[in-house]
Amino acid sequence: MTRTLRLDGVDRSFGDRQVLRNVSFEVSAGRMTGFVGANGAGKTTTMRIILGVLAPDAGEVTWGGTTLTRQDRRSFGYMPEERGLYPKMTTREQVTYLGRLHGLDAAAARRSTDALLDRVGLGERGDDLLETLSLGNQQRAQIAAALVHDPEVLVLDEPFSGLDPLAVETVVAVLRERASAGAPVLFSSHQLDVVERLCDDLVIIGDGVIRAAGSRQQLRDSYTVPRFELVVEHDAGWVRDHPGVTVVELDGARVVFDLPAGTDEQPVLRAALARGPVRAFRPVSPSLTEIFREVTQ
């Protein structure tokens, strides 16, 4: 079960508006892939195309090298951005029902539902009507609904929006479990800090075009101008006048600065030591937010 999910040259328009242009990326087995982009960048459309809810105008989605079929997709787990289950059914009943629609037999669907509801902390409320649950608990039910058939691929559109911190931890743990069991996991999120913490790989989309894709570290390396933080004993204002330095941030004894690519940073450190004690000197990795800003501009 180490199949890779691939999108290859996917185009899609709605009327005259082209929302996806030649979208290609991979979701590797056993890895959590974060999918980020501004509102309207094409995340939801991409995910709907993976799930077969929308058809691409061109291009294709393959899994393990072969074009996806409806049968394949039935083994996928999907959590749409706009949430909802049947308000007048109990959680247990509808999670079981969705399990059966995904091809489980009655007994297997019941077993899996019971286990999952316990796992997401809904065991006790499983027989309440969905509409009587709190929003947070409805979100947990939604997660259970996406996972009930033990999906081989997970596609989750904004799985963390609206979750309380406790529920976020539960969901993160469940997703990691699935990933380490070998499933490709693709999730989108607006919360870049959450994505940064969770994802192994990252896909950035802007205006329907893939702007960057790769492992988190790879992206960091390739979008990094050499940036350093220096903390000295007294005022660090002199760094401004050091050759080649561009100061990003100066705050008394602390300074963050960029150097032109390929420049040795040690002369700056030596200059600092010559002036007095150095409390800290380290390279600064850009945050996902900064990379995101850079590639989508």
């Binding site: 709907r48 799930l51 077969g52 809810v53 929308l54 058809a55 079929t69 409806r70 997709r73 039935r74 996928f76 999907y78 959590m79 749409p80 706009e82 949430r83 909802g84 289950l85 049947y86 308000p87 007048k88 059914m89 029902y97 969705l98 059966r100 629609l101 995904h102 091809g103 609904a145 996406a146």
Partner: protein, 353 residues
């Protein structure tokens, strides 16, 4: 899992949810009470021979006719009994029949000699029954298709409004989703009607109107297939209408054409049921044939081959409406931003697997 299995799972859910719905259960109970009351009570009210006040000299033929006779001393006392409402009628010297406001047929009959009657058109039905039966058929089809049609539309909208439809569409073919709803609606509607029919038949027997039952039997027999197929036709329209809406509040606006398709045939059959030409036309038109054709069979106006032809027309129409309904349904199911126009839904459906 194939389309049939998916359809079955979906239909099962629809039925299970409906059977727990109090409004539905009370509605059914209400219809059953009406059916029981409508068949048992009228014979009871009109039933029982009239009570007649008469002097002993006039009593003999009345007793012979099985009437309950109260013997009074004279004509004056007889008249007073009627005025006091002690009896239904009085027979006084003449003989003349006295009653308050309604001529008592059984008393008149007891005193008359009747000519032999030879009916030249023996199928002719009692005019009261001839008025009521079309009404009942049309009413049953109208109410049931309306009730269950609205429910299909509501169930479609619920799935759109809660957005669960996206999960469903990712798991099962859209056609299975539509088919499951239509099948569930048809089963529920049919079960409800069957239940009402059973109660009505028992009621007719209790109320001793068994003769009417044998007259009605062939019409009811034909009503069943006409009803089922007619229902499928309307259900396809209701499902498509539901898919065009986005919130339960929109349902009235999107379903107006469907309402007309149910309402116009209903009134046409009610008002034109003694116009043979109109009924012949109505009995072939897909929307009115489910009520009009069984009626023409009931009144004996239709030849044996006619219901078969009409049923074939209805089946073809239902097939066409199912296909068109499915297309509109597919074209609008995932459009969750406000109401979808019929045109957009028709032209821009997704080619999803």
């Amino acid at each position: 899992m194939n389309v049939t299995q998916a359809t079955r799972l979906i239909a099962e859910r629809e039925i299970r949810v409906k059977l727990r719905d109090r409004t539905f259960l009370f509605g059914t109970l209400f219809f059953l009470l009406i059916a029981a009351a409508g068949t048992i009570l009228p014979p009871l009210f009109s039933g029982g021979p009239s009570t007649v006040a008469a002097t002993e000299s006039l009593a003999a033929p009345l007793r012979a006719a099985g009437l309950e006779v109260r013997v009074v001393p004279d004509d004056r006392a007889a008249e007073q009994s009627v005025r006091d409402d002690d009896v239904d009628a009085a027979v006084v010297t003449g003989p003349a029949v006295l009653a308050m406001d309604d001529a008592p047929d059984d008393v008149v009959k007891a005193l008359s000699t009747q000519p032999t009657v030879r009916l030249l058109d023996p199928d002719a039905v009692d005019p009261v029954v001839a008025f009521l039966v079309p009404f009942v058929f049309a009413f049953v089809f109208f109410i049931t298709s309306q009730t269950f049609g609205v429910q299909i539309a509501q169930s479609v909208i619920e799935e759109k409004q809660t957005r669960i439809v996206e999960i469903l569409v990712a798991a099962v073919p859209v056609r299975a989703l539509l088919a499951g709803k239509v099948v569930a609606g048809a089963i529920l509607a049919f079960a409800q009607i069957a239940l009402i029919a059973v109660v009505a038949v028992i009621g007719l027997q209790i109320g001793d109107s068994g003769g009417l039952l044998s007259l009605l039997a062939p019409a009811i027999g034909w009503f069943v297939p006409f009803f089922l197929i007619g229902f499928v036709l309307l259900a396809a329209m209701w499902a498509a209408a539901g898919a065009l809406a986005n919130r339960q509040e929109d349902i009235a606006a999107v379903s107006t054409p469907v309402q007309f398709a149910v309402m116009l045939p209903f009134f046409a059959v009610i008002f034109l049921n003694d116009n043979a030409t109109a009924m012949r036309v109505l009995s072939y038109l897909p929307f009115s044939s489910p009520t009009a054709m069984p009626l023409r069979l009931f009144t004996g106006d239709a030849a044996g081959w006619e219901p078969i032809v009409s049923l074939v027309v209805l089946v073809l129409a239902a097939g066409a409406f199912l296909l068109a309904g499915a297309r509109v349904y597919e074209g609008s199911l995932l459009r969750t931003n406000g109401r979808t126009s019929l045109r957009t839904a028709w032209r821009e459906r997704e080619t999803i697997g």
